[in-house]
């Protein structure tokens, strides 16, 4: 037991050390459709460049013809009076041919486009890999609830706004919404899929390179639609298993008197009305599960990096950081706040 705990601890520390720089670069362009890190996004990025190339050629040709027509009409000598308003019969044949060629070319290009599009579509629709990892995502105004299902109930893992996945393994995500329509979108990995109340939707992706990818809600969902982000952390299978292991089970017990005081603040104050910390009396299910809060990168659905200072600011005045968010401000005295922060910081 102690061996396993120390191993977990060791792994956590290793992860923290390894991922700290990642957290810094996490936001630099890590939400781009043109920087694909998985098969779905890659197919679409290829499609993008193909279509852009075709479109550019078409544009240049059509505008070239238009400019030629303008130039020619502008420079040539005036036509005979009897054809003042009507095209010259000789010209009419040329024009007719030109329009027909244009229409046929358009049709051919569109038919090609249709084939390319539908074949890409069916490629990305097929789940790429056996035995996909199954994750449930529930959209809330304005955060993401993430559950890793497990046949053994106590092995189920609940977290928020952060999805850890093993590199190279397909991930199948079952999605629903608890309130309004949201849309799940991590552009480096795959296109979006809506979360619709009353419907269950499914999407999948596979991360082929380790890294931290940002995603964001893409369907307008109210005041804080802009700050409803999440991170997908793709890591080696071993790291992922360690992470999952660490996320299982109850929260760590407070290690010192300050943390104990913090736990008391948490349980006696308003926090416990909305948040769960497994293994304590706190069982609210309105806000994100905080059992392993300190192992996450961000708070407030990707709005702020998780630091003690940010957490303090968030607890005291969330409405300035994220106006309209359902988290109420909390007024507590500095000692209690210090204790609370120490306790929350210990929830690895």
């Amino acid at each position: 037991m102690t061996a396993s705990r120390s191993r977990v601890h060791h792994v956590t520390r290793r992860c923290a050390v390894r991922l700290a720089p990642l957290a810094l670069v996490a936001c630099t362009g890590f939400q781009s459709a043109l920087d694909p890190k998985g098969p779905r996004a890659e197919a679409v990025a290829r499609l993008h460049w193909t279509l852009t190339a075709i479109a550019t050629v078409v544009y240049v040709v059509v505008i070239g013809v238009l400019l030629f027509a303008l130039w020619r009409a502008h420079t040539r000598t005036p036509v005979a009076e009897e054809h003042a308003y009507h095209e010259n019969p000789d010209h009419a044949a040329v024009m007719k041919r030109g329009v027909i060629i244009g229409a046929v070319a358009t049709t051919v290009i569109l038919a090609t486009f249709l084939v390319v599009s539908v074949s890409t579509g069916s490629t990305v629709a097929k789940v790429g890999g056996d035995k996909p990892l199954r994750i449930d995502v529930v959209g809330h105004q304005w955060w993401w609830e993430v559950t890793y299902r497990d046949p053994i109930p106590q092995n189920e893992v609940k977290t928020a706004n952060e999805i850890h996945v093993p590199v190279g393994r397909a991930v199948l995500i079952k999605m629903s919404s608890s309130d309004v329509i949201h849309s799940f979108w991590a552009p480096n990995l795959s296109g979006k899929k809506d979360l619709i109340p009353g419907h269950e939707t499914i999407t999948w992706f596979r991360a082929d390179a380790a890294g931290v990818y940002r995603g964001q809600c893409a369907e307008f969902c109210g005041h804080q639609h802009a700050q409803m982000a999440f991170f997908v952390v793709a890591e080696s299978r071993l790291d992922f298993e360690h992470w999952l292991d660490q996320q299982r089970g109850e929260a760590k017990r407070p290690a010192d008197s300050l943390q104990q005081a913090g736990e008391r603040v948490f349980l006696s104050g308003p926090c416990a009305m909305c948040h769960t910390i497994a293994g304590t009396g706190a069982g609210g299910n309105i806000g994100p599960d905080l059992t392993h809060l300190a192992s996450r990168r961000t708070i407030a659905a990707g709005t702020l990096p998780l630091t003690t200072g940010n957490l303090a600011g968030w607890i005291l005045d969330p409405q300035t950081i994220k106006p309209g968010v359902k988290m109420p401000p909390t007024q507590i005295d500095p000692q209690s706040l210090q204790a609370l922060l120490a306790y929350l910081g210990s929830l690895k």
Binding site: D179, P197, H223, S268, G269, P270, M273, C274, I286, D317, Q319, T320, P323, G324, V325, K326, P328, P329, T330, Q331
Partner: protein
Amino acid sequence: MKLRPQIVLFVVIALTLVACKREQRRFRETPPAATASNAILMSTLQPGPAVVETGMRNPYEDNAYAVSEGKRLFDQMNCSGCHSHGGGGIGPPLTDDEWIYGSDPQNIFSTIVEGRPNGMPAFRGKIPNYQVWQLVGYVRALGGLQGKAIRTTRDDHMMFKESEQARDKGHPSPTFVPPTSVKQ
């Protein structure tokens, strides 16, 4: 036909004020309202119409957003566990005209914060003041004591009762109902 500009201006300003109050979304509360209610508000234990005058008024009376937030909290804080969507169960119904501890905003505020005998827990220190006021706004809407334009309408789940909007205007009964006679 000549419109007096003053009258037009007055009507416009009046409408603006009404709508502003009704439609405001106040997110960031000034600290006093945001404080979880820790102040000791002693009430005499005697229930009934004689209630404590707390000297507070509901900052959210007549605000549709606050009432709908109150409705959300009512569900999420599990008020329905006893009051069953306002219809009453373990706790008394909130959609009728009987108000054991008074129907004024400050009465309901005290009821939530202080708790009441026979089961109503005290939420002092658990919910910030402004959210209590939002709950107060909703509870009054349940009883038909808010304007129709303020009350919430049907929600996006199963209907357990007619919506708050459909309820007739409430006429809170002044009759004293001892807590022991509350329907179980």
